[in-house]
Amino acid sequence: MVSLSGLAKGYEFPPVPFELSRDWVEEYRAAVEDEATAEVGDDVVPPMALVALAVRSLLEQAALPEGTIHLGQEVSFRRAVRVGEPLEAQARITSRGERQGWLLMGIELSVEDAAGWAVMHGRATITVPGA
């Protein structure tokens, strides 16, 4: 598997399709102790679960170098997603630079629904030691 730190600015990961199964959503809800989302709607997926799945899709394609640190996260949600929806995650390296021996990378993450509409769009900023 390729290392994330070896990827150039502009690199686009192949899209990864996935379906939000009820079992996985329940596992996620339990892991984050989410109690509020069910009050919005029984089948509504906690919105940050979309970011977690987008990151998981990325990690299935590129290894995080040891010591990688998450510096910041921007995210916008276009609409609530419901259990069972087929979705597709995409990721792209949007920036890459060095600062004091650390590699700084910006990674754009997005999730689209079956119609091709974005339901989540975000940007993670990470730093990797030993640039």
Partner: protein, 137 residues
């Protein structure tokens, strides 16, 4: 399906969001690692993490942001997943044994968008995460 508006259907500047308090444990971090597929040993391997500059395991940033998301859902209901935005910076790590308090305050509400400042502090009052959130209405 029920559609609750959240606890702040008509937010006004200066209004506090309903705080969320969470106690972090290694088991909770491990559970998040399994659910998210992010098994970075910095989060899950105490022996490895002890040799890093953090001196021990730390929680995933996205786990902490899930707590922020819960506060925003409690405050704004369906407006959060339907058009909400969050911009956050991780200032310091959350560690096993930490009690995190997620809080927020409405900065501006003009009937179209509601802007909030959000932050996460540990039991010592140290800011671990800060940022801005925005929802419609």
């Amino acid at each position: 399906m029920s559609q609750r508006p959240g606890s702040l259907p008509e937010a006004t500047a200066g209004q506090a969001l309903p705080a969320v308090v969470r106690y972090v444990t290694q088991e909770k971090i491990n559970r998040y690692a399994r659910a998210s597929g992010d098994g970075n040993p910095l989060h899950t391997d105490p022996e490895y993490a002890a040799r890093t500059r953090f001196g021990g395991t730390i929680a995933h940033g996205l786990l902490v942001l899930a707590y922020v998301s819960e506060m925003l859902t409690a405050a704004f209901g369906e407006r959060w997943p339907n058009g909400g935005r969050l911009k956050s910076r991780f200032r310091a790590p959350a560690r096993p044994g930490d009690t995190l308090t997620v809080s927020g305050e409405v900065q501006k509400a003009d009937g179209v968008r509601t802007l909030c400042r959000i932050e996460v502090r540990n039991q010592a009052g140290e800011v671990l995460v800060d940022g801005e959130a925005e929802v419609g209405g």
